[in-house]
């Protein structure tokens, strides 16, 4: 009985549809599970690579290493730069995300604020408000729809290798995502406090900034922190394109077959992300309590 009910429910159908889509994808890609057994060369690499997992390097492995300084110093520098680029990008993304998020939210364009007394005035003001909001939302969607690595490739082609272009590549899609989520959170915030302020005769800008914004602030801060963690990961990956973050050194070590060094970088990235996660979950608990 239970199974039959499940199938006739909407979410049951959606779940089955999802599984069918997976099967279809498998068939369309012409995949063969046997390819998952690594080829001879791959198996050799796999053995060496995973064999090094428990022995991460603490000093340079490569015989050709001529650079000054220690290996752990280099790991620290890679981590430092990864965090610095992420922080710089998030700084930009938060500023632009807030501005765009305000303009994209429905509560910014509230009826009380852009109402007007006569019908003609009201209609024209509403039309202007709606079109500005729609244009902002479209702009945000465009910012978000291009991945940070593709922005990086575009900037590499346009500007050449420059650390500022790395920061911009990160900041643009992140500003878009933050703006979208901020605007949703502002609209979903409870109407009680803004309504009370409005009844007291506060100006509409004050209603938004002192009534609505503080209500949405905890959620916005928690989400921002989560995005910071994502930015750290993305910043590490940008190294694969030649920027001096963690990915750059990881790629170098892997291509030199220094697998123990690769594991050190992986563990370092893992530690960094764990620290951020613990921190942000602690913050979330504070906000909720």
């Amino acid at each position: 009985m239970l199974e039959r009910r499940f199938i006739f429910e909407r979410r049951g159908q959606i779940a089955l549809l999802v599984l069918a889509a997976g099967a279809l994808a498998f068939q369309r890609l012409g995949l063969d599970p046997r390819d998952l057994v690594p080829h001879a060369g791959g198996a050799q690499i796999a053995r060496e690579f995973f064999g090094a997992a428990l022995r991460p390097a603490l000093t340079f492995e490569g015989a050709l290493e001529t650079s000054s300084g220690t290996f752990l110093g280099r790991v620290a520098l890679a981590l430092y730069r990864t965090v610095i680029f992420a922080a710089a990008a998030m700084g930009l993304a938060i500023v632009f995300g807030l501005g765009l998020g305000f303009v994209a939210s429905s509560s910014w364009w509230s009826r009380e604020r852009f109402g007007g007394r006569t019908v003609a005035r009201r209609l024209s003001l509403r039309a202007i408000a709606m079109s500005v909001q729609a244009a902002t939302r479209l702009f945000i969607a465009l910012l978000r729809s291009v991945h940070e690595l593709i922005w990086a490739v575009l900037f590499l082609a346009a500007f050449g290798l420059n650390t500022m272009s790395c920061v911009l590549a990160l900041a643009i899609p992140y500003a878009g995502t933050l703006a979208k989520v901020y605007s949703e959170m502002l609209d979903e915030a409870s109407d009680a406090a803004p309504g009370a302020l409005r009844d007291l005769g506060a100006s509409e800008l004050l209603v938004f900034l002192c009534g609505r914004l503080p209500r949405a602030m905890p959620d916005m801060a928690a989400y921002t922190f989560y995005r910071f963690e994502c930015a750290v990961r993305s910043s590490a990956v940008l190294g694969f394109f030649g920027y001096p973050t963690l990915g750059y050194y990881l790629k170098l070590s892997f291509e030199n077959l220094d697998y123990r060094e690769v594991w050190t970088y992986l563990y370092a990235l893992f530690l960094l992300v764990v620290v951020f996660e613990l921190w942000s979950s602690r913050l979330r608990n504070r906000f909720v309590a």
């Binding site: 279809l24 082609a157 500007f159 990956v237």
Partner: protein, 314 residues
């Protein structure tokens, strides 16, 4: 000033002094503001060089020549207009049938299969990662204490810890490693996306299970149901909407990432972006970037429709 006015003022001051404050929140805010400011003045970011004459000349050339579609550039050079729109259209159509369509669908299928694999493993992993289920007496109102609890607890924490490990390493790095192990093909991308997303969805699903109302689960348990039966008959139906919401939320991100993984040599859209860049055909590159953006917008709409349908179904 009237007495009541002063009273009210004192009340406001008192309320302000008593508002909830947390050292953690304050410290974090100050720390991250300071970090963002420090990042800009640390000297690691070349904002000055970015605006230098050489860079500007580069950008001008890029915008005025490189990204102009090939037929447009030709017609500007020869006569200036005349049937350009037709030429432009045939240029786009040729690139689409030649490579674009194939890469477009491959990207979509890779991300679909990857997210389904991730979703299924996340549902399975959510059971051993749920601390409320992993107890000698699951969902008990007052958790039992004692030596018998430790194996369960260690097991749950171990699963959660490995989930952190899966998601801490970015998809791109997973794909880079798998490419060396499995050779070119779609599998490295699928596995990379599936593993990273299994880490994220597994954690979200496990949190959902932990936050479920314990009543029905306790009742089923007291009737003598095994842990597996409780999971299949009560937890899954209760949490399925949430699981699916998270699933579609990650699907959108998965499509974005699948595009990019092509840059490593898997034939998705990113492959042709990288290929056009290597051949310095920037007009083609921009066309594929736009195609990728379109794909992401389509996935965005799909996932929003699915989530809206789920909200209505609840």
């Amino acid at each position: 000033m009237s007495a009541s006015h002063i009273d009210r003022r004192a009340e406001v001051v008192r309320l302000r002094a008593e508002r909830p404050r947390s050292l953690t929140v304050r410290f974090s805010l100050v720390f991250f503001c300071a970090l963002a400011v420090f990042a800009w003045v640390s000297g690691e970011i070349d904002a000055v060089d970015f605006l230098s004459k050489r860079r500007r000349a580069n950008v001008e050339r890029f915008l005025e020549q490189d990204v102009l579609p090939y037929p447009l550039r030709e017609s500007v050079r020869t006569e200036g207009g005349g049937g350009t729109l037709e030429l432009l259209w045939s240029w786009v159509a040729e690139l689409w049938t030649d490579r674009g369509a194939d890469a477009f669908w491959t990207t979509l299928w890779i991300s679909t299969l990857a997210i389904v694999l991730a979703g299924v493993s996340a549902v399975i992993l959510s059971a051993p990662a749920a601390r409320t289920l992993m107890r000698t007496e699951p969902f008990a109102r007052t958790p039992a204490r004692g030596a018998g609890e430790w194996p369960w607890r260690i097991c749950a924490e171990a699963v959660r810890f490995s989930l952190v490990g899966l998601r801490a390493i970015p998809e791109f790095v997973w794909a880079f490693l798998f490419l060396a192990l499995f050779g070119p093909g779609a599998w490295p991308a699928i596995l990379a996306l599936a593993i990273h997303n299994a880490g994220i969805l597994g954690r979200l699903n496990a949190d959902t299970v932990e936050n479920l109302d314990g009543g029905p689960l306790r009742a089923l348990r007291s009737l003598g149901a095994s842990r597996r039966q409780v999971f299949g008959l009560a937890i899954l139906p209760l949490a399925l909407s949430r699981f699916l919401l998270y699933f579609f939320y990650r699907f959108e991100t998965c499509v974005r990432e699948a595009t990019v993984l092509g840059m490593l040599g898997i034939v998705s859209l990113g492959y042709w972006i990288q290929d056009a860049r290597a051949r310095q055909r920037y007009d083609e590159m921009v066309l594929f970037v736009v195609l990728g953006a379109l794909l992401v917008l389509v996935a965005d709409v799909l996932s929003q429709l699915a989530r809206a349908a789920l909200r209505r179904a609840r």
